[in-house]
C-alpha cells in the first residue's frame, strides 16, 4: 500500500466515500432484514446507489456505475410503488450481490488494478427481478407511470447554484461579467449523459456565477440523459473568464462531441428564470436541499438521514501524537505540582490552581481517549451478514443475537478483532451448531442460536461468542492432540479447561471435513495470534451437548491509568488501581506459613497467598518484617493475592510506556511509567503475578 500517497486525491476520496457508502448500505439492509424493508430504507438504498452511480461515472468506472444504475432503477421502482409484499429475502440477496461486486471492484482500484469485472450477469438478475415485480404488481405500475408523467413538467424549473445569492458585491461583479449560453453534445453511446453533464456543471461552477442548466433535473432524473442525447445540454452562466479559458474547460470534458458557446446580452435570459426557482422551492424544498448538498461538495454521507452527524477524518498517527502529548502533559503536571521544592510550604492558592489544572488535564485525557474509541457495533453488524450467508449455504438455521454492541474499544482493536470474530462465528456455525434434524432429535429448538456479546469488566473489554450447539468433545480433542503430538501430560491430570484450551495450539483443527468456511488447517491458533497482537487473552469453556463459550479479553488500551505507587527499598512500583481491592497493615500473628514456607494470610475466612515484592524482584529493603510493611490485596479473574511492600506512596495517574523489548522483561510487569521527579516506576501486571505464583506452586509440587 506504499503507493497510496501518490494517488490522485479525487480517487482517494472516491474510494473512501464509496466504501463508507457501502458500509452504510449494509447496515441499512441488515437492520431492515429482520422486519420488512421499510420505505425509509428503500429511499436510503436508492440514495446510496444513486451517489455511487454518480461518483463512479465521474471517475469513469463504468461497470460499477451501470450496475449501481440498475439497482437504483429497481429501488426507484420500489420507492414509487406501494409494495407490501415484496420478498425481502430475494431483494436483499440482490443488493448484497451488488455490494459484493462493487466492493471487489473497489479493492481492485485500491490495488491500482483495472476495475474490469463484468456486471452483466448481476444486471440481468436485477432486471429480471424488476420485470417480475412490475408484472406482479400492476397497481404499482400505474403509480409508477403517474409519477413519471410528472417529470416533463419539472424539467422546466431551473436550479441556480449556491453562488447566485443576491449579495450586493456579487451584483457588482456580475455587472462586469458576461452572460454565456453553451450547448454541449456528448458522443453517442457514452451513457449516463446526465452524470457527464453534471461534471461539466461542477467545473463551470468553479469559475462562474448563476449557473443554470437545461434539463435541470440531471441529478435526480435519469430520463434527463435522453433529453441531453437529443437536444444537447444547455448551460447558462455568467463569468468574467475569457472565452479561451472556457474553451479549454469544455474541451476537457470527457466524451465531448461538440459544443456551442454564445454570448448573451446582459440582464437577459438568466434572470427571467429566477421566479421559477422560487416555485421550485415551494414545490419541494426538500429535493432542492438534497441537490444542493450534492452540489456543494459531493459529501454524500451527509445525505443519509440515519447517520446524520458532522465528522471529519483524522489520521490515526495524529491521534497517537496527541495521545503522547497528553501523556507528557500529565507527567509535567505531576512534575510541577509534586515538585520537591514545594514541600513544607504553605500554598493554599497554588493548590487550588493545581486542582483546577488537574481537573482540566483529566478532562482532556478523557476526550482524547474517547476520540480513539469506536463502538463495536459496526464490527458486530458485519457478523449478521456472515451468519445470514452461511446459514443459507450450509443449510442450518441460526439466529445471531447481539448484546452490548455499543461497547467502545480503541480503534486499533476494532481493526484487529474483526477477523478473529469472523473465524469464531464460522467455527460456531460449522462445528458448533448441529443440523436442524439433529437438534430436533436432541430436543433443542430447531433454530440454532449464537450470542455475540461485548461488555466492560474493570479495565478490560470482554467479547463473548456463545453457541448452543453440541459443545466440544473432550475425547476428540485429546485424541487429536496426541496424534499431532501437542500434548505432554496425562489427560487425566488435565482440567477440562486445559483440555479445551488445546484447540488454540498451532496445527490443531478437529474437523475432518473441509468446508468453504472452516477447516482449512489454519485453526484457532490464528485467532489466538491475532488476539495476542492486541494484548488480549482468549479462553474457552464448553458443556457437552449444550454449547461452547469463547471469551476474548482485551485491555481497553488504557495508555493512561490510575495507579497506586508503592515503594520497596529504593524502587517504586505502580499497581493499577482497578485491580486493588484493599490495603492494610498486617499483624505478625495473622500470617500462616505452610510446609513449603509459603506465607499466607487469613482474611474474613479466606486465605490469600502473600507475594513479597522484595523477594520476588530481589530488591534490598530494610522492611522485611510483615508488621512493618503493608499488604495490598489485588485481584483478577484468576484469583487474588496479597502483595507485600514497604509503604504506599500515593495514587497518581500514570502514562503507561512499554518496556524496551530488548530487556525481555518478565510477564509480571506490564510496562513502566515516569513519575513526577523523572524517575521510572515499573507497572505490575497483577494477572501475570498471580499466574506466576500459581506456576511456582505447581513446580513446587
Amino acid at each position: 500500500m506504499s503507493g497510496n500517497t501518490e494517488r490522485d486525491p479525487m480517487l482517494e476520496m472516491y474510494i473512501f466515500e464509496s466504501n463508507q457508502l457501502l458500509e452504510q448500505l449494509e447496515q441499512v439492509i441488515l437492520s431492515s432484514e429482520k422486519s420488512i424493508v421499510s420505505e425509509e430504507s428503500i429511499n436510503e438504498i436508492f440514495r446510496i446507489m444513486h451517489t455511487i452511480k454518480g461518483n463512479s461515472a465521474m471517475m469513469l468506472f463504468n461497470n460499477i456505475a451501470t450496475l449501481a444504475h440498475a439497482l437504483e432503477d429497481l429501488f426507484d421502482f420500489l420507492r414509487q410503488g406501494e409494495f407490501k409484499d415484496v420478498d425481502s429475502e430475494k431483494l436483499i440477496d440482490r443488493v448484497f450481490s451488488v455490494v459484493d461486486f462493487i466492493k471487489g471492484e473497489l479493492f481492485k482500484i485500491e490495488d491500482e488494478k483495472e476495475a474490469d469485472a463484468d456486471p452483466e450477469v448481476l444486471m440481468q438478475h436485477i432486471k429480471e427481478y424488476l420485470l417480475d415485480l412490475k408484472e406482479n404488481n400492476t397497481e404499482g405500475e400505474t403509480n409508477h407511470e403517474k409519477k413519471q408523467s410528472n417529470y416533463p413538467e419539472k424539467q422546466q424549473y431551473y436550479i441556480s447554484s449556491s453562488k447566485s445569492s443576491g449579495n450586493k458585491i456579487e451584483k457588482h461583479i456580475q455587472d462586469i461579467c458576461i452572460n454565456y449560453k453553451a450547448v454541449i453534445y456528448f458522443e453517442e453511446a457514452c451513457q449516463m449523459e446526465n452524470m457527464r453533464a453534471y461534471t461539466v456543471v461542477r467545473s463551470i461552477n468553479e469559475i462562474a456565477m448563476n449557473v443554470q442548466f437545461i434539463p435541470a433535473d440531471i441529478l435526480e432524473n435519469d430520463k434527463s440523459s435522453e433529453v441531453i442525447k437529443k437536444e444537447g445540454f444547455t448551460l447558462l452562466f455568467k463569468t468574467d473568464v475569457s472565452e479561451e479559458a472556457l474553451d479549454k474547460i469544455f474541451q476537457n470534458t470527457v466524451f465531448l462531441k461538440e459544443y456551442e458557446l454564445m454570448r448573451l446580452p446582459n440582464e437577459c435570459d438568466i434572470y427571467t428564470y429566477k421566479p421559477k426557482l422560487e416555485i421550485l422551492l415551494e414545490d419541494s424544498s426538500l429535493e432542492l436541499q438534497e441537490v444542493n448538498t450534492k452540489c456543494n461538495d459531493f459529501n454524500s454521507s451527509a445525505s443519509s438521514k440515519m447517520t446524520k452527524q458532522s465528522s471529519i477524518n483524522v489520521k490515526v498517527n495524529k491521534l497517537d501524537m496527541l495521545m503522547d502529548l497528553v501523556g507528557e502533559l500529565v507527567i509535567s503536571e505531576a512534575m510541577v505540582t509534586q515538585n520537591p521544592e514545594l514541600q513544607g510550604l504553605n500554598l493554599d492558592n497554588f493548590n487550588k490552581a493545581a486542582r483546577q489544572l488537574h481537573k482540566i488535564t483529566n478532562d482532556l485525557q478523557d476526550v482524547v481517549m474517547s476520540i480513539r474509541m469506536v463502538p463495536l457495533s459496526l464490527t458486530f453488524q458485519k457478523m449478521n451478514r456472515l451468519v445470514r450467508d452461511m446459514s443459507k449455504k450450509i443449510n442450518k438455521e441460526v439466529e445471531l443475537k447481539i448484546i452490548g454492541e455499543e461497547t467502545e474499544v480503541d480503534k486499533n482493536i476494532i481493526e484487529n478483532i474483526s477477523d478473529p470474530l469472523m473465524h469464531l462465528i464460522r467455527n460456531a456455525m460449522d462445528h458448533g451448531i448441529e443440523s436442524s434434524e439433529k437438534r430436533v432429535q436432541n430436543h433443542k429448538p430447531k433454530k440454532g442460536k449464537i450470542i455475540l456479546q461485548a461488555k466492560n469488566s474493570g479495565g478490560d473489554v470482554l467479547i463473548i461468542v456463545k453457541d448452543d450447539g453440541q459443545g466440544l468433545s473432550k475425547e476428540k480433542i485429546i485424541n487429536k492432540a496426541f496424534e499431532k503430538g501437542l500434548i505432554d501430560k496425562e489427560p487425566k491430570e488435565m482440567t477440562d479447561k486445559e483440555i479445551y484450551s488445546l484447540i488454540f495450539l498451532p496445527g490443531f483443527s478437529t474437523n475432518e471435513e473441509i468446508t468453504e468456511y472452516s477447516g482449512r488447517g489454519v485453526g484457532m491458533d490464528v485467532v489466538t495470534k491475532n488476539i495476542e497482537r492486541i494484548k488480549g487473552k482468549i479462553s474457552v469453556d464448553s458443556i457437552a451437548g449444550q454449547g461452547t463459550t469463547i471469551t476474548i479479553k482485551i485491555p481497553l488500551t488504557l495508555a493512561i491509568i490510575e495507579g497506586m505507587i508503592i515503594s520497596v527499598g529504593g524502587s517504586t512500583y505502580t499497581i493499577p488501581i482497578v485491580s486493588i481491592r484493599e490495603s492494610f497493615r498486617p499483624k505478625e500473628e495473622e500470617i500462616i506459613v505452610d510446609l513449603q514456607g509459603n506465607e499466607m494470610i487469613l482474611i474474613r475466612g479466606q486465605s490469600y497467598p502473600i507475594v513479597r515484592i522484595h523477594e520476588r524482584y530481589h530488591v534490598n529493603t530494610k522492611i522485611k518484617k510483615i508488621s512493618e510493611g503493608i499488604l495490598i490485596m489485588v485481584e483478577c479473574d484468576e484469583g487474588s493475592i496479597c502483595i507485600f511492600a514497604d509503604t504506599l506512596l500515593g495514587e497518581q495517574q500514570v502514562v503507561v510506556k512499554p518496556l524496551p523489548k530488548y530487556v525481555n522483561a518478565s510477564k509480571s510487569l506490564s510496562g513502566c511509567t515516569l513519575l513526577g521527579d523523572g524517575s521510572i516506576s515499573l507497572i505490575l501486571d497483577v494477572a501475570g503475578l498471580i499466574y506466576e505464583y500459581k506456576q511456582k506452586g505447581r513446580d513446587d509440587e
Binding site: 507528557e328 507527567i331 524502587s571 520476588r616 524482584y617 530481589h618 530488591v619 510506556k657 512499554p658 518496556l659 524496551p660 523489548k661 530488548y662 530487556v663 525481555n664 522483561a665 518478565s666 510487569l669 513502566c672 515516569l674 523523572g678 524517575s679 521510572i680 516506576s681 515499573l682
Partner: protein
C-alpha cells in the same frame, strides 16, 4: 524531473554524511583497555544517571533509564565482557547507540575521544578460539601507537537477541 534531482541531492547528502562519519570511532575505556565503536551508531553520550533495575532480565542489562521521556535499556559493558564490575563514578558515561532500530545505552568507564582510524590501520582480529571478548571484536585499530579494539555493535547486543526483537515487532 525535479523529483529525480531532489532524490539525487538527497542521496548525495546521505553519502557525504556517511563519508564524514567513515573511519571515525568513538573511543572509550574499560580499565586499561581502549575500545572503539563506529560513530554512526552513536546517538549521544550522557553522564551516568539513576538506573531503574528490571527484574528477570539478561544479567548484563542493568536496567532502564529515562532519556527525555524515552525508556532505554542500559548494558554494563564490563559485565558483558566478563570483567569485574566497578563502582560508577563521575567519569562513568552512558553511550547511547542505535543498532537496527534498537536503542540501548552502554555503560563505560570513560569516553576518551573520537578518533579517525584509516582502513589501512585496521587489522582483522586473530582467529584464535572463540572466547567471549573476541566474539564482539570486528577489528584492531592503531591510532597514536595505541591499540584499540573495535567493537561490532550488532554482536554486542547479541545477534540472536536482535533477531528475536525484530521478529516480535
Amino acid at each position: 524531473m525535479t523529483k529525480d534531482i531532489e532524490d539525487i541531492v538527497r542521496m548525495e547528502d546521505l553519502e557525504s554524511e556517511e563519508d564524514t562519519q567513515r573511519g571515525k570511532f568513538l573511543i572509550f575505556s574499560l580499565g586499561e583497555g581502549e575500545y572503539g565503536i563506529e560513530i554512526k551508531y552513536v546517538i549521544e553520550i550522557i553522564r551516568i544517571q539513576e538506573i531503574t533495575p528490571i527484574p528477570d532480565t539478561l544479567e548484563y542489562i542493568k536496567g532502564v533509564i529515562n532519556l527525555r521521556g524515552k525508556i532505554i535499556p542500559v548494558m554494563d559493558v564490563r559485565h558483558r565482557f566478563k570483567k569485574e564490575e566497578r563502582v560508577y563514578d563521575d567519569r562513568t558515561c552512558i553511550v547511547v547507540i542505535e543498532v537496527k532500530e534498537v536503542f540501548i545505552g552502554l555503560i563505560v568507564d570513560r569516553v576518551v575521544e573520537v578518533a579517525s582510524i584509516a582502513d589501512t590501520d585496521i587489522a582483522l582480529p586473530p582467529k584464535i578460539n572463540k572466547n567471549t571478548e573476541n566474539k564482539y571484536i570486528k577489528g584492531i585499530g592503531k591510532s597514536e601507537e595505541k591499540i584499540k579494539l573495535l567493537l561490532d555493535c550488532a554482536k554486542l547486543l547479541g545477534d540472536d537477541e536482535i533477531n528475536m526483537i525484530q521478529e516480535l515487532t
